[in-house]
Amino acid sequence: MAAREVTIERGGRTILDRVSMAVHPGEAAMIIGPNGAGKTSLLRVLMGLWQPDGGHVERVADLRVGYMPQRLQIEPVLPLSVYRFLRMRQRLPRRELLAKLERVGVGHLIDSPIQSLSGGETQRVLLARALLGEPDLLVLDEPAQGVDVVGQGDVFVMLDDIRRESGCGVLIVSHDLHFVMAGAETVICLNQHVCCTGNPEEVSQHPEYRRLFPSVDLRGLAVYTHNHNHVHGLHGEVRPLDGAPEDSAGACDDPKHGPGCRH
């Protein structure tokens, strides 16, 4: 699955500006970026929920996508158990649905009302639902939201295990700019355009984080060192790195990042 020069405009503002990226079969990729960077918008375009205003999305034919949304908000007036919620995706026998729930560590919740789950439990149930239908690609919007650093590592370890077991690709969106999934092949830093891409370093090898968390098990996490040649202003506009005000023209040859731009 790939985006080619995707542009999105909403209400006269450019949310995504000629974003290109790709996820290859079996690959783990992450999109990271601050709030308002257009991460969720990019996902929506990739999933076919939104039509891009420019560019296009390429998908392998018959690509089975398992999608895990950021939030699940269901009115308490709707009586719905976790079991029933999963069966809405695929009518599998109870023991198979239970196996999927146990795989993500929440088998005991199968008969609970879905509205009674905590944030972390809800995300695990959503992950179990995304795994139904044996997807080729898992797309996860903030899978570790509201979880502490250790919990975040646990989620990433689990996702990495699932990826190895099933051979599916994983695309994760996260607002955490520094901790990423260990084993991720590609990290894309997004802020309306692709700021930089690269490979993460293992956290365990990173002295600064070892010093911060000497006794904490940080399996599953890696640290991503950004290497930008620009900064963003308050409204997301691109400025050259040396901090010159934006009206000092010519500081950057192409502040909008053309293909020839070097990172």
């Binding site: 929920l49 009586p79 008969d111």
Partner: protein
């Protein structure tokens, strides 16, 4: 038994009409409650009177015109809610009351027509004729088939719209189907409880059944059953104490709701109470 003769009894026709409407209004009401569309339903049903006036003006079947006008208002609402700068509740408030007023004004303009306005506002179930009964049965049947056909995709969209769309549910036809359903039920329910009270017939039985239900299906079916009970009790009460029938049905439904809220939690299924 002589069914044709049996149908001559106005009370039999009234009960039949009420039961047929309740069977569909209950399950549809469950969706109205789950999707927080109560005020939406109110707005659309208040526009039904406009359909009546148009039907008289154009000399067309009233049920058909009410259905068409309700669909038109529902679609207009969905479009306006997307492109509006006013809050959703403001928009619904404007449309609900202006649709009602427009309907009443339009009815007054139809020359030579003497309409019993109260009958349209609060229902006139005891005046249901054989033709009306047939129209209600037909509309109710179409609505029931449509509801069963749309059940799974509609539930999926209600739970999580984006997830459902990624998993292959086509949102637009399902949403239009829901509009058609609401319009059909309003057209059928208008004679039973009147345009002002249709939403009550949909949401009160659904809200009552919540405390007993463990699954969406249980809640919907129970809402249908409770609606039928309310219709039966309402007509009986209206006959007994000579009260207006439509409001009596709604009062019966309300009494059921209050009674169920007073039930101690231990008498209810554990799951449903949380």
């Amino acid at each position: 038994m002589d069914i044709a003769g049996w149908l001559d009894d106005f009370l039999v026709r009234a009960v039949l009409a009420g039961l047929m409407v309740a069977v569909v209004a209950g399950p549809l009401g469950a969706f109205v409650v789950w999707r927080r569309m109560a005020y939406f339903g109110d707005t659309v049903s208040h526009s039904a009177l406009l359909g009546v006036a148009l039907g008289f003006l154009l000399g067309l079947n009233l049920n058909l015109m009410v259905t068409l006008v309700c669909i038109a208002i529902a679609v207009l609402l969905v479009i306006l809610q997307r492109y509006q700068e006013l809050g959703s509740d403001t928009l619904l408030g404007i449309l609900a009351h202006s649709a009602l007023s427009l309907g009443i004004v339009a009815v007054a303009f139809v020359e030579g027509l003497r309409v019993d306005l109260m009958a349209y506002l609060f229902g006139d179930i005891l005046a249901v004729g054989r033709d009306d009964l047939l129209a209600i049965a037909l509309g109710g049947l179409i609505a029931l088939v449509l509801l069963i056909a749309l059940w799974r995709p509609l539930l999926a969209l209600t739970v999580h719209e984006e997830l459902a769309r990624v998993e292959g549910v086509r949102a637009l036809p399902v949403r239009l189907g829901m509009m058609l359903l609401i319009a059909l039920v309003i057209a059928a329910a208008m004679q039973v409880v009147g345009v002002l009270l249709i939403t009550a017939l949909m949401i009160i039985p659904a809200a009552t059944s919540r405390r007993f239900a463990r699954t969406p299906e249980q809640m919907a079916i129970l809402a249908g059953v409770l609606g039928m009970l309310a219709v039966g009790a309402g007509i009986a009460g209206s006959f007994q104490w000579d009260t207006p029938t439509g409001p009596s049905i709604v009062v019966a439904a309300l009494l059921g709701f209050i009674l169920v809220q007073l039930l101690p939690a231990r008498l209810l299924p554990r799951f449903g109470t949380r």
